[in-house]
């Protein structure tokens, strides 16, 4: 289990670096797809099989398709480097690593040694039971949210309203 986590965690981090460092937007989008799929594998390792597959279907298979199609539609080119100050670049990266590295280390220390509460695996049935009973109201509200999003997207992207 653990070696698989290390492998896919490393893939996720490398691909995330790819997202933020690549100059072409299409390559960033492809790297983000790799991040999403490797996170889906990590969810599987944690026993969330339904969410892992939902992540691939919805996030990597639909939302990212939307991103890629918009990038192609807008013909997004390579970024031109802006004239930022050199100090910001040379000072920024190490400070960033230091800040988030310290954060990660603090989290690591604080949560080390936690034991998992022993529960049976959560399949789609368990999720369905909780989703449609305790969380029925938020579920219905998300359907309204999606309707609003569809209407908004159609209106905003039209050439003439």
């Amino acid at each position: 289990m653990l070696p698989l986590f290390y492998i896919f965690g490393a893939v996720a981090i490398l691909a995330a670096l790819g997202v933020i460092l690549q100059e072409t937007p299409v390559y960033s989008a492809l790297s983000l797809i790799v991040v999403l799929c490797s996170l889906a594998v990590v969810y599987l390792l944690l026993g969330a099989e339904f969410l892992a597959v939902i992540q691939v279907i919805v996030y990597a298979g639909a939302i990212m398709v939307l991103f890629v199609l918009v990038i192609m539609l807008l013909n997004a080119r390579r970024e031109t480097t802006s004239d930022r100050s050199r100090m910001a670049r040379w000072l920024g990266a190490p400070l960033l690593v230091a800040f988030f590295g310290q954060f990660a280390y603090a989290v690591w220390k604080h949560f080390s040694g936690w034991e998992a509460v022993h529960t049976p695996a959560t399949g789609p049935q368990k999720i369905g039971e909780v989703l449609f009973r305790s969380y029925a109201l938020p579920f219905e509200l998300t359907s309204i949210l999606i309707l609003v999003a569809i209407l908004g997207a159609v209106v905003l992207a039209k050439k003439e309203i």
Binding site: M1, L46, Y59, V70, T122, K126
Partner: protein
């Protein structure tokens, strides 16, 4: 069947979130910035699922479900806005979008 320790999961989540935040700040292309937002959302999802497993509560996974749905709606509307903005300003660089006046 050894489970992945919680601190590993959370450390990965923090690192991914940090990378997403860094990308959000340093990138110039508005679509890439949007993708870094999605990266941050995914880092948070990972933390939710880690805690859901360790606390034995399926509510964490339900929340991830809702986060994914909201991210989908947000991506749809956000990309539509980006298309509209690009049509007016003919550029995708955020440095050029620093005033409300066209």
């Amino acid at each position: 069947m050894a489970l992945v320790p919680l601190n590993h999961i959370l450390a990965l989540s923090v690192i991914l979130f940090g990378l997403g935040a860094a990308g959000f700040i340093i990138r110039r292309n508005i679509i890439t910035i949007f993708m870094c937002i999605e990266l941050m959302l995914n880092a948070v999802n990972l933390a939710f699922i880690g805690f859901s497993r360790y606390l034995g509560d399926v509510d964490g996974q339900i929340f991830v479900f809702f986060v994914i749905v909201v991210a989908a709606a947000e991506a749809a509307v956000g990309l539509a806005i980006i298309i509209a903005v690009e049509r007016n300003r003919k550029t995708l660089a955020i440095d050029e979008m620093n005033s409300m006046k066209l």
